[in-house]
């Protein structure tokens, strides 16, 4: 065992690796290694996918080591002549369930003993075309006392499509199953299809509309590592500021939305007004309130200048003053505490077992923050400490947003006090020659959590495979678990407290 660990392939975040350097194990060796690694608390699987390669499928698993700041790459190969069946690792490591389901859906690999081998998103190029989105195999209970409630995929509010199936005993939810895939657009295939860099980066901005900066940053870093482009420290800092502004804006918008859902009128309106201040600033910087057009590979079209710096300080000062005042009032209001406290609790063990990332992990005492464990962009130069809360209920998720906003503001202030923006950063690169036969991985921490983009190139430097993982892939499971034994009327605030992405999952 130790012998295998010694020649294991360890890479850093945002790096491209020669495919030949990734060791190819047999499946039993791969299973042993992966299980061995993933039972350790500091490791979690950030991506595990299969891609067509020569006459079979190449499986690559990326396991992040949070203490060492490394990513461990493992792979195995399944020739098309072999039976399409593998032993599932999910019974031992629950967090792998979603990756195995994805591989099963895309390539028809039957994972033996997988407890929940169901379709993920019904992609256009799925293996079993006969399986339609309406035939999703829901979990059923045959009972006269219990009833099912189905919500969606069309909802009363202006939100994305998703179907929620509750099995209830009166008002109590015994089980919730979430079926997604209604919004599948085929982003991964589109990124390969579009050959121009600009087309690709614009696509990446639209993977999840509320995480435009997070996803485009992951894409840009991936391309830069594949094209071996070094960017200046100043540009790195600018990107991190953009990411933090997105975090602040979405968090404060979510606080407003949570107030709406509990009918706290004052919070609902004023927090929404505060969000506008931040997104308007983003617009004045890059021309788009959601931060589209901000991140480009190799540079930035609209650099951050000292003028921007001055205005950002003004905006933040005004925002912080009002935010702190209203947050103080809202979070201390007994009716708000009464509504949020102690519902939808998911404990640390459950959160760890399903492999939740980002906010969903940090609200339940699990320290998962790519910004500190695998620093990228401006977080290398200016480290940031994650906010961890112990309890894991709706109030924790509500409170985590407030605390993260405060920390982000403090972090941006620290940068603005120390960094210099006298000379504008470099312009974006239009053409990039990618390294041949390489595997690149890029992790960023969007406001929702860890975003992972992976790409493979062939021997001529063409991109042949692209894999996106939005944090929602793991975190929808946390919502399902939150609802256990909860009243069905508490579903909306639980759903809003996670605010997961439908399109980020559906791709």
């Amino acid at each position: 065992m130790n012998e295998k660990f010694e020649n294991i392939c360890r890479v850093k975040n945002n790096s491209a690796t020669d495919l030949n350097l990734i060791p190819v194990y047999t499946y039993s060796e791969f299973s042993d290694l992966a299980l061995n690694l993933l039972t350790k608390k500091e490791n979690h699987c950030v991506n595990y996918f299969a891609s067509p390669y020569k006459n079979g499928l190449r499986f690559i698993a990326s396991i992040a080591d949070d203490t060492a700041g490394d990513i461990i790459l493992l792979s195995h190969f399944l020739a098309s002549s072999e039976p399409k069946q593998l032993n599932s690792l999910t019974p031992k490591i629950t967090a792998l369930h979603i990756f195995e389901r994805e591989i099963f859906e895309n390539y028809g690999i039957a994972f033996k003993d997988h407890p929940w081998l169901k379709p993920v998103r019904f992609p256009h190029d799925r293996f079993d075309r006969n399986l339609k989105v309406n035939d999703y195999p829901f979990y059923k209970i045959n009972s006269h006392e219990l009833h099912e409630v189905g919500v969606g995929p069309v909802h009363a509010g202006i939100i994305e499509p998703g179907h929620f199936r509750f099995i209830c005993n009166g008002e109590n939810v015994l089980h919730l199953e979430i079926q997604l895939g209604w919004q599948h657009r085929g982003v991964e295939a589109l990124i390969l299809e579009k050959k121009q860099l600009l087309q690709r980066v614009i696509l990446s901005e639209s993977i999840a509309g509320d995480t435009a900066v997070g996803h485009s940053l992951a894409f840009a870093q991936l391309i830069e590592s594949l094209g071996d482009i070094k960017i200046s420290g100043q540009l790195m800092v600018e990107r991190a500021i953009a990411l933090e502004l997105e975090r602040i804006a979405i968090h404060v918008g979510d606080i407003a939305a949570l107030c709406t859902d509990i009918s706290y009128g004052l919070g609902a309106n004023i927090f929404a007004i505060l969000r506008t201040g931040i997104i308007n600033y983003t617009q004045s910087w890059c021309g788009n309130r959601l931060g589209k057009g901000m991140i480009r590979p190799g540079g930035i079209n609209l650099p951050f200048t000292n003028e921007h710096k001055k205005r950002l300080l003004e905006v933040l000062t005004k925002f912080e003053f009002q935010f702190v005042e209203l947050a103080h009032r809202t979070y201390k209001l007994s009716s708000v505490q009464n509504r949020f406290d102690d519902i939808g609790t998911v404990n640390e063990d459950l959160i760890r077992s399903i492999g939740a990332v980002g906010m969903a992990a940090r609200m339940a005492n699990l320290n998962r923050d790519i910004r500190s464990s695998h620093p990228f962009a401006g977080y290398i130069q200016f480290p940031i400490e994650p906010v961890i809360l112990p309890k894991g209920d709706v109030f924790s998720r509500f409170l985590l947003r407030r605390k993260e906003i405060k920390r982000s503001i403090a972090w941006i202030r620290n940068i603005l006090a120390n960094a210099n923006f006298d000379t504008p950063s470099e312009k974006p690169v239009n053409e990039i020659v990618l390294k041949p036969d390489s595997f690149a991985i890029s992790l960023t921490e969007g406001w929702r959590g860890e975003i992972c983009h992976c790409a493979l190139t062939d021997d001529t430097g063409n991109m042949i495979f692209y894999k996106i993982k939005d944090p929602s892939m793991h975190n929808w499971k946390a919502l399902e678990l939150s609802l256990r034994n909860l009243e069905i009327s508490d579903f909306p605030i639980n759903n809003k407290s996670y605010n997961l992405s439908y399109c980020g999952y559906d791709l």
């Binding site: 009363a156 509010g157 107030c259 509990i262 009128g265």
Partner: protein, 306 residues
């Protein structure tokens, strides 16, 4: 005689508008016009109806019955010295059950749609009104015991406020009727009239399938409910000895204060957990028993208690 009725009807049209305007102002929004609610109803009345295929005639009949029961209930409410259209011994029992039968028919209509959401809402509405009913009867019964009369007009016209204990009874009754009106009108903290989330709705989900003229009637009925409770509060606030003109002047003032209070409650607090609603309503019943006991103390009938 008709003056009271006209006052209540006018209030019913304006009241929801005042609430939404105040809520908007508190939240730094511009908000709709005061009469917007009324215009919306007119717009709805002009529209055609859409019926689901699973519903029967009961579903179409329900809003009309609902509205007419409430309108009939209005005839029982005196406004100060202005007598109600109908007044007889025990009319407040008739009044309470008119309101209840309106609710009953709406619950039946909601079940008629066969929708999972509507059944859930109907179930909740039935449960909460069941719990809220004692509050009204204990208060009215206590005051009837106090005055020795049992029709609305007689009760209110002989309700003297002379000692500290009767002040306490009036104040507590007004407080309870205020919260009772919030439950009856499906407002905070039990329900939220503005939510779009079916799973958390109580009353709103029951009327999801209604449209056009009938939805207009339901909304008119909502205004009527507020006006009914506003008049009850007015009767408790203002002694009937004042002359007609003072009462006429005070009626709108009391209604506006009531509307502003409703708006403030909806702006400055969050709603209850669904689970805690029952507990909260039972607390109101417990408080109404305090009214009853105080009346017993005033009349020195405490010895009657076991």
């Amino acid at each position: 005689m008709g003056v009271g009725l006209v006052l209540i009807l006018i209030t019913s049209l304006i009241f929801p508008g005042i609430v939404s305007v105040v809520k908007a102002k508190v939240a730094a929004r511009k908000g709709p016009r005061v009469m917007q609610h009324f215009y919306d109803i007119i717009k709805l009345m002009k529209k055609g109806n859409v019926y689901s295929r699973t519903t029967g005639f009961l579903f179409q009949l329900a809003p009309i019955i609902y509205f007419s029961t409430l309108l009939t209930a209005v005839f029982f409410i005196p406004v100060g010295n202005y007598k109600a259209l109908f007044s007889f011994e025990g009319d407040f029992v008739m009044f309470a059950y008119l309101m209840a039968s309106g609710r009953f028919i709406m619950i039946i209509a909601a079940m008629d749609t066969g929708s999972g959401f509507e059944g859930m809402g109907a179930n909740r509405e039935a449960f909460y009104s069941l719990l809220a009913e004692p509050v009204f009867f204990i208060i009215m019964g206590s005051i009837a015991l106090h005055t020795g009369h049992n029709s609305f007009y007689d009760i209110f016209s002989s309700l003297y406020v002379e000692s500290a204990l009767t002040y306490f009874v009036s104040a507590l009754s007004i407080y309870l009727i205020f919260w009772l009106s919030m439950i009856e009108n499906s407002r905070l903290p039990v329900d939220d009239p503005n939510t779009h989330l079916e799973l958390t709705m109580v009353h709103e989900v029951m009327v999801l399938d209604h449209s056009g003229f009938e939805l207009g009637l339901i909304q008119l009925a909502g205004g009527l409910k507020f006006a009914i409770f506003g008049s009850l509060i007015f009767n408790l606030v203002l002694p009937i000895q004042n002359n007609y003109f003072v009462q006429l002047a005070f009626f709108p003032i009391v209604q506006i204060i009531y509307a502003v209070l409703v708006a403030f409650v909806e702006s400055f607090r969050a709603r209850n957990k669904m689970m805690r609603n029952a507990q909260w309503i039972i607390t109101l019943s417990a408080l109404s028993i305090v009214v009853f006991l105080t009346i017993l103390i005033i009349h020195e009938k405490v010895g009657m208690l076991p």
